[in-house]
């Protein structure tokens, strides 16, 4: 099984990208659509319910029948909505693709959204949100993000705030409203598999679009709702007594889009600070390896897109006893990086590191498709991804440091903490005042 040249084609509202594997036995396919309207608790509840509701019956099939048809083919179909983006991921063997595509066609064209199934899903969502309230990593992140964005922004996280009222208010009409949005907006589809597989996918989704075009008009493009706000507090805490560690998300806005000249240098700069995965970033090298303060500490940008600004954050955890030492060490490294920038040695090493990791992506069908899809969603081509190493080679120490200095020198960085914070509250307040 080997990769040959990927291609992209545009059909009406859909961008199709083909990642060809000539003799692949399997198909891996990603579908994305931006569903975002102005965010709200009701919208968040609706998208949570939609994830399961779409898999719960369509056309002439009940939920049981639909799942039976899908599972007897050994296919996996996962749906989720995150930051307002509808995502569908399909994994199956090539030999069964045609039958799976038929199911997906019916699922998207004629979802049932029966009352019985909605009742089941609402109960399930209520139950799973109870566990969410102890997921301290997610809570720390949500606290940070919710301090940076207004409640109408796509990034605002409602999971820990949703109650029975919001969930109970969702009807099949609400879900059909979301589907109207899906039908009218642009689709991005990336397919890993043979040429024949790609043709089958293009044919299916083009036919679906034509069928829907008869009854639905194109929707306006999603609102650019990066409704940012200036944080009013430098420290946010959420108490979860059952955990052993305190999770932290520390960050601020990034006031650029991916089309900005500074974007790639900033990504390299953030990788030098805290590359996610592995041990290469400064934060892991120093705070974990040399100082032994945490099992993991990383930094990255999130939700920066072609049209919207995003934010960056450091994410980690410390024991309550070590959180003061850990936070001081983190801010020491962060300030050094912000004030003094990166060194030439680091730039050279990270150009190699990121180029190698680009190569390694191609050793996996799924990782290749995921990478190409991420680019396609941002309006970029497979060629853009393939030529990334040459753009990395052109990044310089000066452009990296300029981007850090210009775009990541916030007057206030927000510290969001979740976990057994109560015994450390006073200490954290004092630290936040000292460090921010």
């Amino acid at each position: 099984m080997s990769l040959t040249n990927p291609t992209q084609l545009q059909r009406e509202n859909t961008t199709f990208t083909h990642v060809p594997y000539a003799d692949a036995e399997v198909v891996y396919c990603r579908f994305s659509c931006d569903l975002q309207h102005h965010n709200s608790a009701a919208h968040a509840a609706a998208t949570l319910i939609l994830e399961d509701a779409l898999l719960s019956g369509c056309a002439h099939l009940t939920r049981e029948q639909f799942l039976h048809e899908l599972n007897k083919l050994g296919a996996t179909l996962v749906i989720n909505v995150d930051n307002g983006i509808f995502e569908m991921t399909l994994e199956c063997r090539t030999s069964v693709l045609k039958r799976v595509l038929r199911l997906i066609y019916d699922m998207l064209e004629s979802p049932t959204f029966s009352d019985n199934e909605l009742d089941r899903i609402k109960q399930l969502v209520r139950n799973t949100l109870i566990e969410y309230r102890e997921h301290t990593g997610a809570l720390a992140r949500d606290g940070l993000v919710n301090s940076l964005y207004k409640p109408t922004d796509r990034r605002y996280h409602y999971e820990s705030l949703l109650g029975a009222t919001e969930i109970g208010s969702i009807t099949d009409d609400t879900l059909r409203g979301l589907m109207q949005t899906l039908y009218g907006r642009n689709w991005t589809i990336t397919v890993g598999g043979s040429a024949q597989v790609f043709e089958q996918v293009v044919h299916t989704f083009s036919r679906l679009h034509r069928s829907l075009a008869d009854t639905h008009s194109a929707e306006a493009a999603p609102p650019t709702t990066h409704e940012r706000r200036v944080p009013t507090k430098s420290l946010l805490t959420q108490s979860v007594a059952s955990k052993q560690n305190i999770d932290f998300s520390i960050g601020a806005h990034i006031p650029i889009t991916i089309t900005d000249q500074a974007y790639l240098p900033l990504q390299v700069g953030l990788a030098i600070l805290g590359k996610v995965g592995g041990f290469t970033g400064r934060l892991m090298s120093v705070i974990r390896e040399k100082e032994g303060l945490t099992y993991g500490i990383y930094a990255r940008s999130e939700t920066v897109s072609a049209h919207e600004y995003g934010y960056w954050r450091i994410f980690t955890f410390f024991s309550p006893e070590q959180c003061a030492t850990g936070l001081r060490a983190t801010f020491r490294e962060l300030r050094d990086w912000q004030r003094n920038g990166v060194t030439q040695d680091e730039v050279t090493r990270f150009q190699t590191i990121l180029t190698t990791q680009h190569t390694l992506v191609f050793a996996s069908l799924k990782r290749t498709v995921n990478a190409m899809h991420g680019y396609a969603v941002q309006g970029r081509s497979p060629h853009d991804f393939i030529t990334l190493p040459s753009r990395l080679a052109a990044v310089t120490k000066a452009t990296i440091n300029e981007s850090i200095y210009t775009h990541l020198q916030p007057k206030r960085v927000v510290i969001s903490a979740a976990g057994p914070v109560q015994s450390r509250q006073r200490e954290l307040v004092q630290l936040a005042s000292e460090l921010s």
């Binding site: 050994g74 063997r93 209520r126 007594a241 052993q244 099992y295 190699t352 590191i353 190569t359 050793a363």
Partner: protein, 443 residues
């Protein structure tokens, strides 16, 4: 169970100094005669990428009381400098290759083995083998390297221990095993981790890190000739001690009747765990257990998903079944919805299992087999995924069984699954666990 029947007969090794053991489904096994190192080579069309993994046949099963988690601690230390690293002024050990080149590097420890793997462009093949050969014998294990890493392992322990499933598993393992080292978690007890000495680590390292206790797996853009030449160059001079590899031979006493443990915390979560004893991996009985638990818990059509989650009694169902060399404990985890008790749900599960018919099970078995076929096909699209999966079979001492998984599962009948479920969920095979959250919340 093994696919040895389909193995090619041994032939001459393409490089001298090696014994070709056999080739099964394109994967070839060799033994380096001089020191007993085992090598598996799986060529894959990977466009210039190789994944290699060295499995040391040592894990938490080799740990005595008072030094639990030592294998895992030592795994962390294998990334610290060796004698030659220090001479060259390298203070980050094996990680230096990642820092210089971006090669993917990591490791993990489990019950019976410790794995160290790299994934990298083929040009780094010699560098990787050089690192593996060097750190097999030449770690310096200095206190200044050990102390911060001990802190990291304590941090890792705390990360896991905060999760209800881990906290409950931790207690259930200790309850299930009176004698066998499977009775402690791989990471060990926090108290033991905090009390480690460098001398303990040194002793463990010298006992288990040796060529005749290791299997090197190489997959990707590589030929057997090229791979064996490089292995000979880097490992050929290493000696295996004449002393035997220390092994704890422990027979777990038979269980008489149901065992139970409770963990209480200030938490909004209530969790029920049903532990069932199962056979060693990769026997047919292990696969029957896997298929049985999958039919019970895996996916939206599974028995307990339909009867507990879809009815609002539980919010989540999952199971954990490890590929261990010895009989072990598998666990079904059921997160209870508010208003439902551990005891009542346990009774429900038993009732559902007792009422299951072959007709109920048959379609679910077919679907699990279909999913497994898809998963096996996806494994071949990534050398990293393939090596990760193959390593478990290497650890169990029967790697050819990896090539026969689909056939093994397809041979299991619905009647066998029903019988297996009834056998597993009997009191003398069970340990139950209740995680009781004293801070009840609802939505």
């Amino acid at each position: 169970m093994s696919n040895k029947a389909n193995a090619d007969r041994p032939t001459r090794s393409p490089v001298s100094g090696f014994q070709h053991i056999h080739t099964v489904a394109g994967i070839s096994e060799y033994r380096l005669r001089h020191n007993g190192l085992r090598i598996l080579i799986a060529p894959l069309p990977q466009d210039g990428v190789i994944t290699s993994n060295i499995t040391y046949h040592v894990g938490s099963r080799d740990e005595a009381r008072g030094e639990t988690g030592l294998a895992h601690m030592l795994e962390h230390m294998l990334f610290k400098p060796t004698v030659s690293d220090r001479k060259r002024g390298i203070d980050s050990g094996a990680m230096q290759l990642e820092r210089d080149s971006g090669c993917l590097i990591n490791a993990n420890t489990w019950r019976d083995r410790t794995n160290y793997y790299f994934s990298y462009p083929a040009e780094y093949f010699d560098d990787v083998l050089s690192i593996e050969a060097d750190r097999m014998y030449n770690l310096t294990l200095e206190p200044e390297d050990f102390l911060p890493e001990q802190g990291n392992v304590l941090s890792e322990f705390d990360m896991y221990f905060g999760h209800p499933e881990f906290a409950l598993s931790y207690a259930m393992s200790a309850t299930a095993f009176f004698s066998h080292p499977y009775g402690h978690e791989v990471i060990g007890h926090r108290e033991d981790i905090a009390g480690y000495t460098v001398e303990q680590l040194q002793r463990f390292y010298q006992a288990y890190y040796r060529p005749d206790n290791a299997t090197l797996t190489i997959a990707g853009d590589v030929t057997p000739r090229h791979a064996l030449r490089a292995v000979k160059q880097h490992f050929g001079e290493l000696e295996s001690p004449h002393t035997p590899i220390p092994r704890l031979t422990i027979t777990e006493p038979a269980q008489e009747g149901l065992r139970h443990v409770t963990v209480e915390r200030e938490s909004g979560t209530n969790l029920l765990a049903l532990g069932v004893r199962h056979a060693a991996f990769p026997t047919p009985e292990w696969y029957e257990t896997w298929l049985s638990l999958a039919v019970l818990c895996s996916g939206p059509e599974s028995i307990l998903q339909q009867r507990l989650v879809d009815t609002g009694i539980a919010s989540r169902i999952s199971f954990q079944l490890e590929p261990s060399r010895d009989p072990n404990l598998a666990t079904v985890f059921i997160t209870l919805a508010p208003g439902h008790t551990h005891t009542a749900v346990t009774d429900l599960v038993h009732q559902h299992i007792a009422e299951l018919t072959v007709a109920d099970i048959r379609p679910l078995v077919k679907k699990q087999v279909a999913h497994e076929l898809t998963e096996q096909a996806f494994l071949r699209t990534s050398s990293l995924d393939l090596v990760d999966e193959l390593a478990e079979f290497v650890s169990a001492g029967d790697w050819p069984a990896f090539t026969a998984v689909a056939e093994t599962i397809a041979a299991i009948t619905p009647t066998q699954v029903r019988q297996r479920l009834r056998t597993l969920f009997t009191p003398q095979h069970m340990v139950t666990g209740h995680f009781i959250g004293n801070n009840h919340s609802s939505v």
